[in-house]
Amino acid sequence: MTEFTAQDVIRPRWSPALRARAIRRFMLAGLIIMIGTGVAAVCLEIFGRSLSPLWLTVGIVLPSVLAFGALFVVFAITAHALLGRLLKRLAFVLFIGSLAGIVLTAWGASLLFGLVDRIVAARPDPIAQTIFGGELTTDEIVRFFAATPEDPKALEAPPALEFVAYLLWPWQFRLLRDLVLALVILGFVSVTASFAIWWERKVAGRIQSRLGPMRVGGWHGWAQGIADGLKLVQKEDIVPGRADGPVFRLAPYLVFIPVLTAFLALPFSDRWVLRDLEVGLVLVLGLLGIDVIGVILAGWASHNKWSMYGALRVAAQMVSYEIPMGMALLLPVMAAGTLRPGAIGALQSGGFHTWLAFCSPFLFAAAGVYFVASLAACKRAPFDLPEAESELTGGFHTEYSGFRWAVFFFGEYAAMFVVCGLAVLLFLGAWHSPLPASWGESLAGGSWWQRGLYALLFSGPAWFIAKTYALLFVHIWLRWTLPRIRIDQVMYACVQVMLPMTMLLLLGQMFWQLLVPPDGITARAANIVCTLAGAAIVAAFVGTAGWGYLNRRRLVGPLAVNHLPGS
């Protein structure tokens, strides 16, 4: 240890070596805790869940709390000075930490809630749903664990069990549970956004024969999203002098929060859903619709004419495109006969030919219409007129910088995820793999690894997320390929092309369902044709890309410049 001087007492001076050592220690600690947690969790799975609440607490809850704490300390150490130089390592830690935190929290929470539910269920009389009810007492919890078949009223318990009971007690309240789940969703959205930022930059780089970010985080600059976010948070907080201050400050959150709320009803799988609402789809659509307000107000409050133009364009474009988007959504709703996202997803479990997009020609077309409309509703290129930087210098977010700007972008990427997720949910088989789920039925009820295999092969949140990211890739791909459309063309495409088209599709689907027997030859033929067409589209895209990749031209010889990655 180096000796402390008076200077250090007043203002601790960290030498780079000291700081590096500290960070290494905390990283190590975090890593050990995470690994330990994982091992413990696996043990728990193997040895049965009801084994010991003490182990549950010690193995899951405490480590995740400690891991978060360690990460926070690392953050505090690194952030206090020279953030730029350490950004790389910091971003690495944060990224791993947040990912692990989210997964651990979600998983731990589900175990914890399940346990508490079982305790509640074990009580002789049911409890009303209250938020502060406190009907379940710690004594009851202790009794639940201490109870033996011989003596159901036994109260002899080690002190540690009381401690555990004290920890478990709050989780009987819905509000607390929802808070935890909201945190999980928030974490997921943040990670998705920062990942999408990095991904977008990488894809853009590749499309433009560049490498994209390569530095932050080591391998292919994969922590660039976090680094961008941190940079933005550090930037000066600017509100234009003549802007409408409160509205200006509020606007980004009006964009972000509705989108975040939309995750409330978005199912990642049949069990991974916060609330499988009866009107889930309409609610998601409505929440996507109201983030327009935030964008408009942002443009208005900036007191900038270009922002104003952006706001006007947003108002015109997003409100218009909501209509074809909503009507395209009505087709799968009609086919499924419900607005409940979970029910629609569950319909499509029988292999990829049962995915709704392939069930009738009208649904197939509606999937395309929906995708285009969702591009417009997310203000993504080629529909990025509200922020068109070659015309409006940034549109509604011209005057925004730093954290608020970051919030806009988090909102944008989250909205992209939601619309792509809706497309996957309604048209592309939701959380099911292309294999029929019935093939894996024997696995579904098996041991933990069998269940994991089932989730990987047949149906699980991984499939939903993967498919959504695939669509997200198409969003990114289009953005870096296509020029921007003009506002009159945007409105023309909406009002005179897509709107009549969706209406006709709706009528067509109606008659299809009325007239075509679901098991008849027509329906089967249409199913096959649509499936083949979908496969052909995917194959065409992949094939074109592959052909281009294989036939790329490089300039060889003395003129070839190494710092330019080929074409």
Partner: protein, 401 residues
């Protein structure tokens, strides 16, 4: 004249947010004055276009220039011609070779200097290479103006090779001062011609790729076809030259029509604007933005043709005629125009018997081409203004000089 307030330092009345909008300036209620520039992504420098808009419709667009005025002509009156060549680099800085070329030709004409054969070929090679480089920038930035981000990276990738060649020849990558009075400053480095040939083999198929990526892209065509149409009469009347003139259907190129240097020895076509149909996308009109853009794409092919002929025919020999540094200019004047990537660059050089010219006047093609903006940008949509200005392809260094 001094009564008018300076537009740089005073702002217009805040017509959007002040209540008294229907003031004496006769703005209608929906109209709004809005400054596009001088800091704006798609004005290609420090151009300010004052737009009077009615919603998304532009009622009037008035370009305000001069933000990059550096008194090049005044400087020219105080330097000897060879000293002025670096100043010409900084006019159209995307086509510095061409500027050097035209100015050198003007002075050579005044002095009656003959350029050696090899120097003439090198000059043509450099001018055409720089034409390709300049058109590449025009292509890429036009993509940017249209919201297609990727084209510019491709364009700059190819331009990088050209700049490498230039760097090999003269050591500079932007402002070359390579072509000088009486020839060029240095002979070509070794293997330059081979590398040039390699580049041409690599580059020519790339133009097809650009066409697939951008020129025939449906959205791109929709954005540019029939937008900003300039008739041939208007183009000539406003003094448009270069691709802007040719896009209006005027098959006019100084290199062919009034050949200078050794351009009469080469075989090449003059691409002009064509209406839609027969390989040209539907909806395209002669003189519209798409044609202005596409003429440049075709000119790159023609430049490649010229370059190949140069490679085949370039002789050995001297690269610079003997011109004394302190040569006295005769008491005469000369006006000479050459075909630059952006149009006809003209120099009026007036000598008075001293080594320093009495007057140097530069006629920048961008200056004249830009003057038609307010005529064309009337009753177009806001998004068309970048499309039109981008298709005119201005370099503010030359507009403002």
């Amino acid at each position: 004249m001094t009564a008018m307030p300076d537009a740089m330092f005073t702002s217009e009345p805040d017509l959007l947010f002040d209540a008294a909008r229907d003031g004496p300036d006769g703005l209608r209620t929906e109209e709004m004055l809005i400054n596009m520039g001088p800091q704006h992504p798609s004005t290609h420098g420090v151009l300010r276009v004052l737009l009077r808009t009615d919603g998304e419709m532009v009622v009037e667009a008035v370009p305000h220039i001069g933000y990059l005025h550096r008194c090049a002509e005044k400087i020219g009156e105080n330097l000897q011609p060879y000293q002025f060549i670096p100043k010409t680099d900084r006019m159209d800085y995307l086509a510095a070779m061409n500027n050097n070329h035209v100015f050198s030709l003007a002075v050579e004409r005044l002095l009656g200097v003959e350029v050696p054969e090899r120097a003439a070929y090198i000059r043509v090679i450099m001018a055409e290479l720089n034409r390709i480089a300049s058109h590449l920038v025009a292509f890429g930035t036009y993509g940017l103006d249209m919201g297609a981000f990727t084209a510019v990276l491709y364009a700059f990738r190819e331009r990088e090779y050209i700049l490498d060649l230039f760097e090999a020849a003269c050591g500079a990558r932007l402002t070359y001062s390579y072509i000088t009075i009486g020839g060029v400053t240095f002979d070509l480095p070794e293997r330059f011609i081979e590398r040039l040939a390699e580049f041409l083999d690599y580059f020519e198929p790339k133009i097809d790729e650009y066409d697939r990526l951008l020129s025939y892209n449906h959205i791109f065509v929709k954005r540019t076809a029939g937008v900003g149409v300039i008739s041939a009469e208007d183009a000539i009347a406003w003094g448009l030259t270069g691709p802007c003139l040719r896009a209006s259907g005027v098959r006019w190129d100084l290199r062919r029509c009034l050949p200078y240097e050794i351009y009469d020895r080469f075989e090449f076509d003059i691409p002009v604007g064509r209406p839609g149909g027969g390989g040209i996308p539907r909806g395209v009109v002669v003189g519209d933005c798409w044609n202005r853009y596409f003429v440049r794409m075709q000119e790159m092919r023609e430049s490649v043709r010229i370059l190949r002929q140069c490679i085949a025919a370039i002789p050995a020999g001297e690269v610079r005629a003997k011109v004394p540094k302190n040569v006295r200019l005769p008491a005469d004047e000369v006006y000479f125009e050459g075909e630059n990537p952006r149009g006809q660059l003209g120099f009026l050089v007036v000598g008075d018997g001293s080594p320093i010219p009495w007057r140097v006047k530069a006629r920048g093609p961008c200056f004249c081409n830009l003057s038609i903006t307010s005529h064309v940008c009337r009753g177009v949509l806001l998004a068309d203004v970048p499309a039109i200005i981008g298709s005119i392809d201005i370099v503010l260094g030359e507009v403002d000089r």
